[in-house]
């Protein structure tokens, strides 16, 4: 079998040495850089969309959580409607018996001032997360030189 050895006469080795190295066209690098810039832009837009989606999901979760805790911490609210929460895991339920209990509550639509507090907290969360998102975008733009 064949292994390259300098001491062996190899006619092909001499022939291939004559082969010139080909040059790409002068616009090669410019086109490549354009493709790279387009790809970077595409991945930036995709990342931005994901961030926005996470922001919306996260904000909704926080708002939902805030509403849930407001309702569970004010048992005096009158029953205008009732709803059952799903059973907690029994082990967790026992472990946190002192802290949490399965809320078996009836609630009415809260008073106007309670509702506005909930709305205020929800809005605050959205504003803060929005601010965080905006500042992150600004930071990313500044540091990517755009």
């Amino acid at each position: 079998m064949y292994e390259q050895q300098d001491n062996n006469k190899d006619v092909l080795k001499d022939l291939f040495r004559l082969m010139p190295e080909e040059k790409p066209s002068p616009s090669f690098r410019m086109q490549l850089m354009k493709k790279i810039a387009a790809e970077e832009e595409r991945s930036r837009v995709v990342a931005e969309r994901w961030n926005l989606a996470f922001l919306i999901i996260f904000s909704s979760l926080i708002v939902a959580l805030a509403v849930y805790f407001f309702l569970s911490l004010n048992p005096d609210w009158k029953a205008g409607f009732s709803f059952a929460l799903p059973d907690f895991n029994p082990i967790l339920q026992n472990s946190f018996a002192g802290i949490f209990h399965k809320p078996n509550m009836s609630a009415s639509i809260p008073d106007l001032h309670v509702g506005s507090s909930i709305f205020f907290i929800g809005a605050l969360v959205v504003v803060l997360l929005g601010g965080d998102y905006w500042m992150r975008r600004r930071y990313a733009r500044r540091h990517s030189g755009k």
């Binding site: 064949y2 006469k9 022939l15 082969m19 790409p24 090669f28 490549l32 493709k35």
Partner: protein, 176 residues
């Protein structure tokens, strides 16, 4: 991409732009396709530069990407290659071709080699080019192509014998 990675990528472009293009052009034998494929190679390098862990030589890594890109392309556009009998392949020697080549000037030799290369399959061309033109060792060729070292040795031996036969046949035709 961070500044340091960007500088590194530019350095890689400066160093490997021409050899990668040249190798791909000689494999696919079409300038436009070669430019397109070389750009794909550098795009792949750019995308995975952060993932390159230095487990292999950077040059081997780049040539591996170039090999995969060019070979995948040529698999789609297969062309006829020279079919040579095993007994002929085993009987040809360097000296037979060498004496005939000595009569020619370097331009004619190159033109013969180019025509002979055209009659090889794309993967055969790629292997022989890595070995002779890029001067990679058998072990490096094995890493680039994903073949075993012994398989590379066998293949290179057979391809070079095939090339010698084609070159000899060209010479015979010239005399007829």
């Amino acid at each position: 991409m961070e500044k340091s990675s960007e500088t590194f990528f530019t350095e890689l472009l400066d160093r490997y732009e021409r050899p990668v293009f040249s190798l791909i052009l000689k494999i696919v034998r079409n300038r436009e396709d070669a430019e397109e494929l070389s750009q794909d190679v550098f795009m792949k390098i750019y995308r995975s530069l952060d993932k390159f862990r230095g487990e292999s030589n950077i040059s081997t890594w780049i040539y591996r990407i170039a090999w995969n890109t060019a070979i995948s392309f040529t698999r789609v556009s297969k062309h006829e290659s020279a079919d040579i009998d095993d007994s002929i392949i085993e009987n040809v020697s360097d000296s037979d071709v060498e004496s005939e080549m000595e009569r020619l000037d370097s331009e004619e030799r190159l033109s013969r080699l180019d025509k002979a290369m055209e009659q090889l399959q794309a993967d055969e061309r790629a292997l022989i080019l890595l070995f002779y033109m890029e001067e990679k060792t058998v072990a490096e060729v094995a890493t680039i192509t994903g073949l075993t070292v012994s398989n590379v040795k066998v293949k290179i031996f057979r391809i070079r014998q095939k090339l010698l036969v084609i070159l000899q046949k060209m010479e015979d035709k010239e005399y007829v």
